[in-house]
Amino acid sequence: MHATVRSVIEVASEEQGDFCILDTEASPEHLSRGTAQYADAMLLVVEPYFKSLETGRRMAALAKDLGLERVALIANKMRGEEDLEAVREFARNNGLEVGGVIPYDELMPGAERAGSSPLDFAPEGLAVAAIERIARGLADGSVAGNGVPQT
């Protein structure tokens, strides 16, 4: 399946869609197999604790090995200023961009328990509002955009 995903991403272009969004497998291994090599940008969803951030760092390194220049962290399930500072410090120390911040929102696990989608279950929720801002940032280039190359 990985080779098929890779080939689909390769041919996906502006004529076939403004956006092609690949939700990757959770293991860093798929990245070393090149599943995402034809993507323009990679967003790494991390939680504010060490193991999650460390996985993000390893994936960012693999993404850069694949030649992906635009890599950004999305800080998810953030409960306050301390969480935010932890992610920002980690990003600074590792030369990564924080492309978006999503607050912890009890409605998100609520949607999962209900077998529903966040947008249907909690359209007015804080997390959905934050994700909407990030989506629009992607569309206007302010998130993981072409501006300053990520180093």
Partner: protein, 106 residues
């Protein structure tokens, strides 16, 4: 823009992927979403009933061919989407790459 979303299991990447896809589609962009997980559940976050996945044929084994440039699709993406995608309520095209063992869970 081709966007890969990654992260540790449980980080919320699938909820995130599905929701940005829907928001971009609602804003008028055309969006193709691909679930790269072998136990896919992006379908739920896109607001599509997971039962609809069951009716999808599995991807044909001759979909990839080897050329001097490497491996490529033997069909256009449009053809693949015609036969192997589901349309979400906001217009997102979900390309079905694998069949879930248990649709909507995991």
């Amino acid at each position: 823009m081709k966007l890969a979303v990654a992260g540790k299991g449980g980080s919320g990447k699938t909820s995130f992927s599905g929701t940005i896809a829907r928001v971009l589609a609602r804003d008028g962009h055309s969006v193709i979403a691909i679930d790269g997980d072998s136990n896919p559940n992006l379908v739920v976050t896109l607001g599509i009933a997971p039962e609809r996945m069951r009716d999808m044929p599995t991807l044909p084994s001759d979909l990839l061919r080897r050329t001097e440039n490497g491996i490529e699709l033997s069909k256009t993406l449009e053809e693949v989407c015609d036969s192997h995608s589901l349309k979400g309520p906001d217009g997102v095209t979900l390309l079905v790459m694998a069949h879930p063992q248990h649709a909507g869970t995991g």
